[in-house]
């Protein structure tokens, strides 16, 4: 009996409480999006009015589209940069490789606030106006480490003998890349791109400091509605985002299967 308590009941209860803490506010937010009340308060009476208001809110929709395009461009650039890097990485000397890798990972450990405003100062230093180029550059800097994590784990697991074999069988290096290396890296490229997309899509700090006047992204719109009197339209769009993210996550999870697991466990090697 005591063993049952220690091995099952207490751990399960503990996990349930922790998960309740994690999910309660999110669920409240989602439920309140379907509530009549303007102030997110009880009693609950079902209504879809915030969703129909959202459908007509062009500012929010436009911002969401901006965020999507920005995240897509960021993810593409990150994936290309990260793939090139891991392919070239092995030819570097050990100390060089370590240096380069810590340089790329650096933005993970510096508060984004600092990176954002140092880029703002760069723009002022070269006497330019804020523009989308710097927004994309900032997003690439902070998203690249995540794409890199995914690709590094994969390339370390890739057997170099495969490439050698292909070469010794007479395949050109381009052919080897196209037929052997690329397919082996593909799942990690998808996962890395997905991570970079999510980081960029969610990012507030970089966009907030660098975005030119008159343009906005979804996080910026959400922040300003929170600041200047929010409405449950924010709940509605949040619910839509959560839904879409989960759908993407499920699709990527299905395509990738174990390689996400590889990535999380990848640090072991």
């Amino acid at each position: 009996m005591r063993k049952y308590f220690a091995d099952h009941l207490i751990p399960t209860l503990y996990a349930l409480i922790a998960l309740a803490f994690l999910y309660t506010p999110i669920i409240v937010l989602m439920v309140m999006g379907f509530n009549e009340s303007r102030y997110n308060t009880l009693p609950f009476s079902f209504s879809l009015k915030w969703y129909s208001a959202l459908a007509q809110n062009e500012v929010l929709i436009h911002a969401a589209v901006n965020s999507f395009i920005l995240a897509l461009i960021t993810a593409l650039i990150c994936v290309v940069l990260a793939t090139m890097f891991v392919l070239g990485m092995k030819t570097l000397s050990r100390s060089m490789e370590g240096l380069f890798r810590s340089l790329i990972m650096m933005p993970m450990s510096i508060p984004w606030l600092i990176l954002a405003l140092s880029m703002l100062l760069l723009i002022r230093f070269i006497d330019m106006d804020k523009n989308m180029f710097f927004v994309v550059a900032g997003h690439v800097v902070i998203s690249l480490p995540y794409a890199m994590l995914s690709l590094q784990a994969r390339i370390q697991a890739l057997d170099p003998a495969l490439e050698e074999m292909s070469a010794s069988l007479g395949a050109s290096s381009l052919n080897t890349f196209r037929r052997i290396t690329m397919p082996a890296l593909a799942p990690a490229i998808v996962a890395g791109g997905f991570l970079a997309f999510m980081i960029s899509f969610d990012n507030f700090a970089i966009s907030y400091f660098l975005i030119p006047a008159g343009t906005s992204t979804l996080p910026i719109e959400i922040q300003s509605s929170i600041k200047f009197g929010f409405t449950p339209e924010i709940n509605a769009i949040s619910t839509v985002i959560i839904g879409v993210s989960l759908l993407c996550l499920a699709i990527v999870g299905l395509i990738m299967g174990s390689s996400i697991e590889n990535m999380i466990g990848g640090k072991k090697k």
């Binding site: 091995d7 996990a15 922790a18 998960l19 803490f21 994690l22 999910y23 309660t24 506010p25 999110i26 409240v28 937010l29 309140m32 102030y39 997110n40 308060t41 009880l42 990260a82 090139m84 392919l87 070239g88 030819t91 380069f100 340089l103 650096m106 933005p107 450990s109 510096i110 508060p111 606030l113 600092i114 990176l115 405003l117 140092s118 880029m119 703002l120 100062l121 760069l122 230093f125 550059a137 900032g138 690439v140 800097v141 690249l144 890199m148 999510m198 507030f204 400091f209 996080p219 959400i222 922040q223 600041k227 929010f230 924010i234 949040s238 985002i241 959560i242 993210s245 996550l249 466990g265």
Partner: protein
């Protein structure tokens, strides 16, 4: 061929150098310029910062808040990670997925969800009123407490993952060896499991404490006027006061705090790695 492949690493390095290293250097340069328009390098921004008790108090508060978030996260995360690694079997993966899912929800949305949950007259308030725990309004929102709750919520899942990965690597045979040599369960835990999982704990602390130092959105939204921390002061310098050079100096102080805590923590981490 080898030379050509080496070139593949350069684009990433160039991007990082131009858009991360160079800006930080420029920020350092600006931090030694006066906001009053005087020409030439000056220490005035830094002396202003360190001589005014307001800023020192805010620095202190930022550190205390981040420490509180880290400690609470540790209290939640360690047992959870331990149960996942050592007690749960099939349940483990489900719990892991449930912990990962909120990562894919917007961070601002999560902060906002605490705002509507904790507000006076909000869901928690109504619930506690109906149970009879609280009369009238709750008064949690717009305090430091609300900020800490929101930040713990945002960061503790990272810690669960790092500690879980460390505990997963602790071989069960080691635990059996310890108990067959006569050690009690508690002794096994403190002398075997805990030291072996320390690298994960240290990484977890790093991954929670350091970003907490630089937060400015969560303190603003959940803390209101009581939420002022270094991050919000920096934001104000850039968006309200236009004291950019002073802002750059504060940002550099923050940067220094980040570097120092990272260096300190990785030193501690290395000690455990060697064992």
């Amino acid at each position: 061929m080898k030379r050509k492949k080496k070139l593949l690493t350069f684009p990433s390095i160039i991007v990082l150098t131009v858009f991360a290293i160079l800006p930080l250097i420029i920020m350092l340069v600006y931090s030694f310029q006066s906001d009053s328009g005087a020409v030439g390098a000056t220490l005035e921004n830094y002396t202003n910062f360190f001589l005014k008790s307001v800023y020192l108090k805010l620095t202190y508060r930022t550190i205390i808040n981040s420490l509180a978030v880290t400690i609470i996260s540790l209290i939640i995360s360690y047992p959870l990670a331990y149960f996942m690694a050592k007690k749960f079997k099939g349940l483990k993966n489900i719990v892991m997925i449930l912990i990962l899912i909120p990562f894919f929800t917007n961070q601002l949305v999560r902060v906002y969800s605490w705002l509507i949950f904790l507000q006076d007259g909000g869901v928690l308030n109504s619930f506690l009123q109906s149970v009879g725990v609280v009369e009238g309004s709750l008064g949690i929102l717009f305090t430091q407490g609300a900020v800490v709750i929101g930040l713990v919520h945002a960061f503790f899942p990272y810690m669960v993952i790092t500690i879980y990965l460390a505990l997963e690597r602790v071989d069960n045979a080691v635990l059996e060896a310890s108990s067959s040599l006569g050690a009690s369960k508690i002794r096994t835990f403190f002398q075997v499991v805990l030291p072996l999982s320390m690298p994960g704990v240290v990484t977890g602390i790093m991954i929670v404490f350091v970003p907490c130092l630089g937060t400015f959105v969560e303190p603003r939204i959940l803390g209101g006027v009581n939420g002022t921390v270094i991050g919000t002061v920096i934001e104000d310098q850039f968006f309200e006061i236009y004291g950019w050079n002073f802002g750059a100096a504060i940002a550099f102080v923050l940067f220094a705090m980040v570097i120092i805590s990272m260096a300190g923590l990785s030193r501690i981490g290395r000690r455990y790695d060697n064992e």
